[in-house]
Amino acid sequence: MAQKALSNPQDLLRFEIVPEGSDTVRLRLTGPLDATSVSRFWRPIEQSLGKLRFQRLQIEATEVTRWDSAGVAFVHELRREAEGRFRAEAQIEGLPPEWERSLEPPASTVGRKPAEEPAGLIGTIGQTAIEEATLLVDALAFLGRLTKGLGAAFHPRLFRPREFLRIFESAGVDALPIVSLISFLIGLVIAFESARPLATFGAQIFIANMIGLLMVREMGPIMTAILLAGRSGSAFAAELGTMKVNEELDALRTMGIDPIRFLVIQRVIAGMIVTPLLTIYSIFVGILGGVLVMIGLGYPLEAIYHQMDGAVQIHDILVGVSKAAVFGLLISASGCFLGLRTRQGPAAVGASATGAVVSGILLIIVADSVFSVILYLLNL
């Protein structure tokens, strides 16, 4: 009778694999069968068993001194594998009766739908496509309802002027310090960066043209809009998302009040008013930054003024301001849209707020590109 024995160095668990007759194998376990010994010995035991051919596996655990869940799960798994892989009969001797119950398949899992299989590559692509298409359809529906809400007769009770002022204050007035700082520094940096290259051509006076046009047509509206997307787009999404999680949107609906008209319209209008105003402010502060650099370079204020006056036309300012209005609409509408779409659960509000910032900035840049092409074609 062949015998194979292994002992571990710390003398924790001992196992013996004893072939009995032609088709039976006995696995004798001695010592503590716990997480420590299982993690040490499961591989040698399985490998030794894998080399043998048998029809019956007897797991003798009468000498096991300590059991824990890992040990029980291990012998259970050994039995399952023996039955599955080798089509063998497997028996466990000496399993404590209180553990016996936990090895029976729980009744509630019988007949339950198996867990959803992870989708393959094509499945994932398909699922993503469906999700994106749904998002697009929802966005279109939202746009329709928003337009209808904006077009409907102005309803002072749904509009709630005080709430509008609160939003206006937090999105506009409270944003003044950060808009000042960023615009001032942007104007300053543009002037500094262009000073040296332009000096080689003796054309430093054209810094004034550059600052003027750049701030008025591009940097003013874009920087303001990006700041607003970060501050207010995310805030709108988080506010509406929290209201959704808190069933406040359901409450509105069962009262017969349309959340779009009660919550979204005022935010969108506030965004459309506040962004152009902040943009004008940002343009002034940015130009101020650039002008300070030019004064530092030795140009008199009067010369700078004349230079800029010749470069920046009234239609440039109109372009900047109308861009800003469109950006404001995009930021607040996408923030509200994602807020209303918030799913359940504690992470959902955060996801909506993040999505609002990302989609807000994306929409700003895309819209800006469209503006550039159109304005170029219109010769403006």
Partner: protein, 262 residues
């Protein structure tokens, strides 16, 4: 306590669910005017799902829900809004608007749907808040209220337009036994004094026995109604072991199903 012979809510062959999941099927029952009606069941048996379908947040897959004989799903525009005003809903955590005071919360339906002058609207709000014993907290924000106060404020808001029915989603959830009993007494008093029909979703046995006139017990496994009737009679006479288990918390555990709502 039945004020009219016609049932105020009729549900016929309702199939309810989310996405592809059917949670309840073939649900039929009716609620009489002026009674306190409770929808019972274990966790995941579909109580809240049923409520959400009754109040029109989700359209039924099959069957119909009639409130005062009218179907929310087929109504549109003004008629739908009018029907929505016939009932109020108290959500589980109150669902008060966080940026408004209690007074403004209760006034929202009045602001939106009536042409009354502000002082009259405020007087109505005072009356509603007095009914739920919350007048002292009128100018507080929801975040400054306790759980029980929030629920009472939500009931006041649900009653702002003098509805015929008030739906309550888990009124005792998250409340201590004393606040819970206070809320029960409030509901009982309002039902009696103003002939309001209350429909509540709950699994709180004490409230059920102390205030519910009639109940249905949902069973998640069969997706149907296990029992219907007076809760005390069901407790004392039903021979169904599942019903016994629910009302007495004894007997073999009858695994109420595990369909979780999303």
């Amino acid at each position: 306590m039945i004020a009219s012979s016609d049932p105020i809510i009729q549900i016929r062959g309702l199939r309810a669910g989310y996405g592809e999941t059917v949670i309840l099927d073939q649900i039929s029952f009716s609620v009489n005017c002026g009674e306190i009606f409770a929808i019972l069941g274990g966790s995941g048996s579909g109580k809240s799902t049923l409520l959400k379908h009754i109040i029109g947040l989700y359209p039924p897959r099959a069957g119909e829900v009639l409130i005062e004989g009218k179907n929310l799903v087929t109504l549109e525009g003004r008629e739908r809004t009018q029907l929505l005003q016939r009932f109020g809903v108290m959500y589980q955590n109150g669902a008060l608007f966080g940026s408004m005071t209690v007074r403004e919360n209760v006034r929202v339906p009045l602001d939106v749907f009536t042409n009354l002058p502000l002082k009259i609207r405020n007087a109505i709000v005072d009356a509603k808040l007095a009914q739920v014993d919350l007048l002292a907290a009128a100018e507080k924000l929801p975040s400054e209220l306790s759980g029980g106060m929030r629920k009472r404020a939500a009931i006041a808001r649900a009653m702002a337009l003098d509805p015929a029915i008030v739906f309550l989603d888990e009124p005792s959830a998250g409340l201590d036994p004393v606040s819970s009993a206070d809320l029960d007494n409030l509901i009982k008093r309002l039902a009696k004094e103003f002939t309001i029909t209350f429909v509540m979703v709950t699994h709180e046995l004490e409230s059920i026995f102390s205030i519910a006139d009639r109940v249905i017990l949902l069973d998640g496994r069969t997706k149907g109604i296990l029992a219907e009737g007076d809760p005390r009679t069901l407790r004392d006479t039903s021979t169904n072991p599942l019903v016994q288990h629910f009302f007495r918390r004894e007997g073999k555990s009858p695994e109420f199903a595990e369909n979780r709502e999303p």
